[in-house]
Each structure stands twice: as structure tokens, then as C-alpha cells.
């Protein structure tokens, strides 16, 4: 026997292994201005995930070939520290970090007013200190807060949340076990003020009904996370 679906991760009462219900999000804390030398920064803990984001710029884009005459370019670098997981990660860029850097940059480009800084570059450094599950969501959300902290003009802040399927039940904000042994994962980036989706990926299979449920869970959770982000930006930190 063995294989996916055999591990019981949700009980008859709908409670998950960590005591959360299907719609509960792990505890979140956000702190701004944690990197004094950066123009804007943020430290976000989401469950056991711990991510630091530093924003530098706008600055002159180098090499010159990356310059755009009508707008700035977003240079996003997502990196997991070698000690961030139980298995040591080889330092440096890999295929996964390249992919996450790209999708994060694309999601952020839809809200940052890049046309205000032609020929410039805005550097966003996402460093994962401790990884549990959903680090791309935490990185994207924290990057939005750090950009706002840096005074970069934006039309909204991207909030990213992932829902997934465990034991054929759709649940919000997967933890490590649910992510590893679950059947599907749907990370989304939501603009809370308009409800627009700027980032969506899916891993695994979801029926149309399950997809709709996961979508609703993500949008509702994003609204809750957005309140914490606002509180952090207004007061310098929030839980």
C-alpha cells in the first residue's frame, strides 16, 4: 500500500492535523523596516515560514541592455537559504527559484507604476530564512509590503494565498505535510481592492467545483491578510 491519499490529514469534524479548520490561515506577523540599509524592507512570518524582503531603488538599470525607455524594470530575486529546510539546499539560483522570481516579478509588475521611472531598475530581494510550505505566496505578499515601505508607487498590493486538496477535501493555506502529501495546490495572487487575479498556478487535479471552492478560500483569506498588511504599514508591524 502507501502513496498519496493514504495519510489521514483531516478528521471527521473537518479539523486538520494542526487543529485548523478548512478555511483557517496560519498565524501571520509582518514587520517593516527590518533592513536599515534598504530603501524598503519587510519580515513576514506565516506559520513557520520566515521571509525577509529588501527593496532597493529605483536605480539606474545595469547592464544598459535591460533598460526600457518607457518604464522601469523589476529585478526580483527569490532565494531560499541553505538552512531554510531540513535538507540542505545548494546555494545559488536554480530552476525553481528562477521560476518563482519570474512569476513574482510578473505579478508585482501589474501593480507597480513602472512608467514613472523610465530606464530604471527596482531590485527586490526575497530571502527565505525558514520554509514550511507556500514560500512563493509569503515572498510575493512580503514583497508587496516592502515595495510600499520603500515608497514605490503602486495601485494596489498583491496578496498571495494558496489552497489545496487533502483527502479529497479543499482546504486553505496548506502546511508542510498537506503540501507534501496532498493531492492539489492552487496558489493565487489577488488584488484586494478590485478582486483581480494577477498570479495563478496549479499543481495536481481539482474538479471545477473544488477549483471554485479553492478560489473562494483564497480570495477570502487574501482579504484577511490584506488587513494585517495595512496594519503593518500603518504601525510598523502587525500580528
Amino acid at each position: 500500500m502507501g502513496g498519496y491519499g493514504d495519510i489521514k490529514m483531516i478528521d471527521e469534524n473537518g479539523l486538520r492535523m494542526d487543529g485548523r479548520s478548512a478555511t483557517d490561515v496560519r498565524p501571520i506577523t509582518i514587520e517593516t523596516g527590518v533592513v536599515p540599509v534598504a530603501d524598503g524592507s519587510c519580515r513576514m512570518t506565516w506559520g513557520t515560514n520566515d521571509v525577509i524582503v529588501a527593496v532597493y531603488g529605483p536605480m539606474e538599470a545595469h547592464p544598459r541592455k535591460i533598460q526600457r525607455q518607457d518604464r522601469a524594470v523589476l529585478d526580483v530575486r527569490y532565494n531560499m537559504a541553505p538552512f531554510s529546510t531540513t535538507d540542505r539546499i545548494r546555494p545559488g539560483f536554480n530552476r525553481r527559484s528562477r521560476e518563482i522570481s519570474k512569476v513574482t516579478a510578473d505579478a508585482l509588475a501589474s501593480v507597480v507604476l513602472l512608467e514613472m521611472y523610465p530606464r530604471s531598475k527596482i531590485r527586490v530581494e526575497i530571502e527565505v530564512i525558514c520554509a514550511e510550505a507556500g514560500t512563493r505566496c509569503v515572498g510575493l505578499t512580503a514583497a508587496s509590503v516592502a515595495l510600499a515601505d520603500a515608497g514605490i508607487p503602486m495601485t494596489d498590493m498583491v496578496v498571495s494565498v494558496a489552497s489545496g486538496k487533502i483527502n479529497d477535501v479543499v482546504v486553505c493555506d496548506l502546511n508542510k505535510e498537506e503540501d507534501n502529501y496532498g493531492e492539489a495546490d492552487l496558489p493565487m495572487g489577488v488584488l484586494p481592492n478590485t478582486g483581480e487575479i494577477v498570479f495563478l498556478q496549479m499543481d495536481g487535479d481539482l474538479s471545477p467545483e473544488q477549483f471554485q471552492t479553492a478560489w473562494d478560500y483564497n480570495v477570502n483569506a487574501a482579504m484577511e491578510v490584506h488587513k494585517i498588511m495595512i496594519e503593518a504599514l500603518k504601525n510598523g508591524g502587525a500580528k
Binding site: 524598503g40 501593480v111 530604471s120 515601505d149 515608497g151 508607487p153 495601485t155 504601525n235 510598523g236
Partner: protein, 221 residues
Amino acid sequence: MSGKNNAGGPQDSQIVVPGENLGLSEEFEAGHGVIIRNDNLMATKNGKLKINGKIISIEPLHSQYVPRPSDLVIGFVEGCTNNIWFIDIGAPFNAILPMSLGPSKASFGSTRQVLDIGEAILCRIQEVEETHSSVVTMKGMGLRKIRSGSIDDIDPHLIVELSRDGNNSLRNMKEANDCRIITADNGRIWIDGEIDGIISVRNDLNEISINSRLLKEGGVA
């Protein structure tokens, strides 16, 4: 939270975040950090709301210097060619200082003998191009190479705060520490005097920077 703030319309000194709805555009005109989307005013920056008559703008909690013609700035020489110096003025792009606008006569190829890399200068923005590149000049009263003292940095928008009430806080700082203090529009401050005075002024400026970051809803923490 944004709903709560907008319940009674935008209020002066309220802290706003990007994307926050500031009400209908019929009531106010959009100033710095505010845009109009679907007939609504929307904040694009994290900062303090300022309502000046019909103009609603945002004073950001953190900002980067954007050069404007006639700004007094303190720059550092970052590089040079035979007839041009490249000056770091704290903006996204370095400014250029042509030899013709330099501090003294220099022959072609002797730029480093007049201003060497790493040296600090007090200069003025002469021109800003559409592409945000700027030209600075050292021709003018008081514009010179900085040879003594210390240069400190604060956020550019805090320079306005320092100059408020007829430079009162700046004057008090000068008198208390017996120092010469020159504030530049790019957020750099030249402090010249005895070492104890310089340290004291730097501590005061650091405190101002920290306090500005500790802004809470409705005022200073």
C-alpha cells in the same frame, strides 16, 4: 481597515497605504502620490495624507530623491571622463557636471586634478531631462567643493520638515551645537564644526529619521 478610514472621507494626517480609496475625485484634485481611477481618488504610496484646499496629496514615509531644476544638492564624484564628471546625487541616475560648469578652469583631460573621485561637492541642478538624467552646475553663490565636516543622509521629504517654521529646528540645532549646517534638497546634510557638535547634530538627525518612521495613525508616536 481601509473601509473604516474612508467612512468619514479622507482626513488630514491620516496614514494611507497603496490602493486605498480616498473618495470621489469630484471633491478633491489629485496631488503627489494620488491618482484617479474610475472617478475615485486612490493612494499610490504609503504615507501621511495632506489636504491643502482642494488638493489631496501624500507625504511618503519613505522616499527617494527626484531631481528638479534649481534644487541645491550635495553630490559625490563617482567618475569622470576628460571633460565631464559623473555625480551621485542620490537619485536613480547620476547627474553630469560638464567641465564648463565646474568649480574652476581645467584643461581638457585634467578633470581629476580639479575634482577627484569620492570628493563631495555642493552644487545645483541646472537641468533635468525627460529621461530623468540631470545636469548640475557649480557656478553660483556658495557652490563649492566640500573639504571639511561630515555629510549625513536623511529622507528627502524630511528636509521640508526641518525647514518648517522658518528653519526654527535647524537654527536651534546650529546654536546648541555651534555648527554650520547646510541642508540639500536631496536629503544630504553638511555639518561642519567641532567633532562633539557634529556627533550631537548627527544624533539629532538620526532621532528625526527614527521618529518619522514611528508615525502612527493621526500623528507622531
